[in-house]
Amino acid sequence: MNIIVTIKQVPDTNNITIDPETGTLNREGVPAIINPEDKNALEAALTLKEKHGAKVIVLSMGPPQAEKALREALAMGADEAILLSDRAFAGADTWATAYTLSCAVKKIKDYSLIIGGRQAIDGDTAQTGPQLSECLKIPQITYVQDVKVEGDTVLAKSVFGNVRRMVQAKMPALLTVTKEMNEPRYSTIRGIATAYREKKITVWNSKDVDAKPMRIGLPGSPTQVRKTFSPKHEREGKVFAGAPGQLANDLLGVLVDNNYV
């Protein structure tokens, strides 16, 4: 079984600010990391590999620097890494990205599962995964928190808000996973040594994957961003009054009502 894991290198939003004037991310000096939920996707793939035996291929579209993220994935235990890098890919929205990834997946050809993170922390769209499955015309299960492979089907627990569903799909299928799925493993020292010294990263450009020029990069991107802004958190304060016992009760009531406890 081959499992493809799509990963994106993103700026670490823990260390990022938004320029209040232009509304764009201040990227300078911000460390680049593997998008956190893509790490959960990789962990899911590696766990399946340990259980069923599989080859895990990580696939990323990005500039040459994204190699670092792929190396980290190799150090965690991925078997192969493919970087889609070409100036022509630049400026891609999620639709063009999904199309480009689908071209690479078609070239890989033999796969049972594609697993990706639900969404990337630098865009928060949660679109690329589902769009990729549309391009490939394969079933998709999103917001996955648990997964089982049985024969040629995949059974996944999908959680969205208060709704939990068990969804079964015939493979090949695409899953997007959330951070609740697992705790990604840490790289081991030997994993890193092997990732850097023994494993190779294959780089493909638009011609290698036979992508149509009008469907990639800026020309292939129908999305128009009209405005970006920092989300404002409308915080609501609430003051409780009363005796300590009553206060504790009131507070607990609110926590219960909001499903926190």
Binding site: D12, N14, N15, P31, I33, K68, E72, A75, E183, R185, Y186, S187, T188, I189, R190, G191, I192, A193, Y196, R197
Partner: protein, 485 residues
């Protein structure tokens, strides 16, 4: 030295003083290890208020204790009597400048260490002394305790970086103490009382636990921008395997100069595992070493990975080497750091639960020279096993300074723990080390001073104390028992 707490009512500063019967005082009444009893608390706003308060207290012989965040592990920041002055509002970096001697930051004493580090990093520099408590503790206190941090294996204690300090004396006068260019202070981990061999008075103040004057400003030497590093947790089967690895690295492997070389022995590992995010690890793993290794670029990174991998495989075998976890992104490194932080945090939590039965955590702070560390640790594990109490050893093993803790549930157990501690302190001194390598003496370890110092030396220290603070009002009860009133 009689004084009457009612006199505090006539202290005239702009900020209202929190009186003893105000419930807010509770927050200021204990540190991690000790419960005191301040008669009033002043959260001072500026240097002027401190000066006025000092003059007032000196005139009226009111004991005055300073505190930052009260993360002291010795009771040093909690008074048994008198006024407590918090520096929490006197914070901020005033200036970062360069001259022919280097780059320096001028900082106010209440600045939280981690924020200071962040601010100098944003300006393109590096301040390397990061106590595990760096998100809470403050620079003035770090100087007052000559703090060390995770990275002191490579970078040494605060003392190394203090270029100049302003101190306000009990009579309200101000002194500026500065290092000569090229002056290199000692890195010895000794924090028991005052530095006996001080040449420059700045070295007398550093580590004096708030007993000689108020540090109102510090000029800190900065290093060039920090190099990237990776952290690793190296697994071992036993405490001894980890120890031997650390000792060998320090004494024989001069090529390896990690930032950090810390032990997490089997007792400490149990507590580390209580961290929510700690992964499941192989049961045969009995202890860990926590290291941080710096590098220049990708090639250098891989080179260091291979150097460590070779050494680990050679000493621990392939099986364990393969389980060495590495963090090389900031987020993962922070997670490792928090796991490490979990050890003292969990030990303190457990210890405090036993306070009500007169038990608690008994922590050691002794240190031994590296070439005597094996003998020292043998002694510790013997004494610890004999005590029958839960115990652990962790932290700065690469500097000969592990923290060892006993958890005692009641007064009888506590007594046993204290005896074990005293025995280890005597051994450490016998081997050429000392009784306090990090946290100082404070109020709870004054009994350890005579283990390390002769009567003459202690008297010499007391004479320095009287010279700076004739009325013995500052940090009363710290380092030396409070004089008879």
């Amino acid at each position: 030295m009689v004084w009457n707490y009612k006199v505090l009512k006539s202290l005239e500063v702009n900020t209202p003083v929190i009186p003893k019967d105000d419930e807010r005082i509770e927050t200021y009444s204990e540190d991690t290890m000790y419960r005191g009893s301040p008669d009033a608390v002043l959260i001072a706003r500026d240097e002027r208020e401190i000066t006025e308060t000092l003059k007032f207290c000196n005139k009226n012989k009111v004991p005055i204790t300073f505190c930052g965040t009260q993360t002291s592990m010795t009771g040093a920041s909690v008074p048994d009597e008198g006024l407590l002055v918090s520096t929490e509002l006197i914070e901020g970096v005033e200036d970062i400048y360069q001259n022919e001697n280097g780059t320096f930051a001028v900082v106010k004493p209440g600045t939280v260490t981690a924020l200071f580090q962040k601010e100098v990093a944003n300006a393109g520099y590096f301040y390397p002394v990061a106590p595990t408590s760096r998100d809470q503790c403050r620079i003035g206190s770090n100087i007052s305790t000559n703090a060390t941090g995770e990275d002191s294996y490579k970078y040494g204690p605060v003392r190394e970086y203090v270029q100049s300090i302003d101190i306000i004396m009990p009579d309200g006068s101000k002194r500026v103490l500065t290092r000569e260019p090229g002056e290199h202070p000692t890195w010895v981990r000794n924090k028991a009382g005052y530095l006996v061999e001080w040449g420059n008075p700045i070295d007398l103040i550093i580590g004096s636990e708030g007993t000689l004057g108020f540090i109102s400003r510090a000029t800190i030497k900065l290093l060039p921008k920090a190099r990237p590093f990776f952290s690793a947790l190296i697994p071992f089967r036993s405490n001894w395997d980890a120890l031997n690895f650390a000792i060998d690295t320090n004494l024989n492997d001069k090529d390896l100069n990690p930032r950090t070389l810390e032990l997490i022995d089997s007792g400490a590992l149990k507590l580390m595992k209580t961290s929510r995010t700690f992964p499941e690890i192989d049961e045969e793993i009995g202890s860990l070493l926590y290291i941080k290794q710096e590098y220049d670029d990708d090639e250098d990174f891989v080179r260091w990975i291979e150097v460590w991998l070779k050494k680990i495989t050679h000493t621990c075998g392939k099986d364990l080497a393969d389980q060495t976890m590495v963090a090389f992104t900031y987020n993962d490194q922070e997670i490792f750091r928090l796991w490490r932080h979990r050890i003292p945090e969990a030990a303190n939590e457990i210890g405090r639960k036993y306070w009500k039965n007169a038990g608690g955590k008994i922590g050691s702070d002794w240190w031994a020279p590296m070439d005597k560390l094996a003998e020292m640790m043998r002694h510790f594990y013997l004494v610890a096993d004999a005590s029958g109490l839960p115990y652990m050893g962790y932290a700065h093993i690469g500097c000969g300074h592990p923290h060892t803790n006993f958890l005692s549930q009641n007064a009888v157990e506590k007594q046993k723990a204290l005896e074990a501690l005293a025995s280890c302190c005597r051994k450490a001194v016998e081997l050429g080390g000392g009784v306090a390598g990090e946290h100082g003496i404070g109020k709870i370890h004054t009994d350890l001073m005579p283990i390390q110092y002769s009567h003459d030396i202690i008297n010499k220290m007391k004479a320095w104390k009287r010279e700076y603070d004739p009325n013995w009002i500052l940090g009363r009860g710290n380092i030396f028992e409070a004089p008879n009133t």
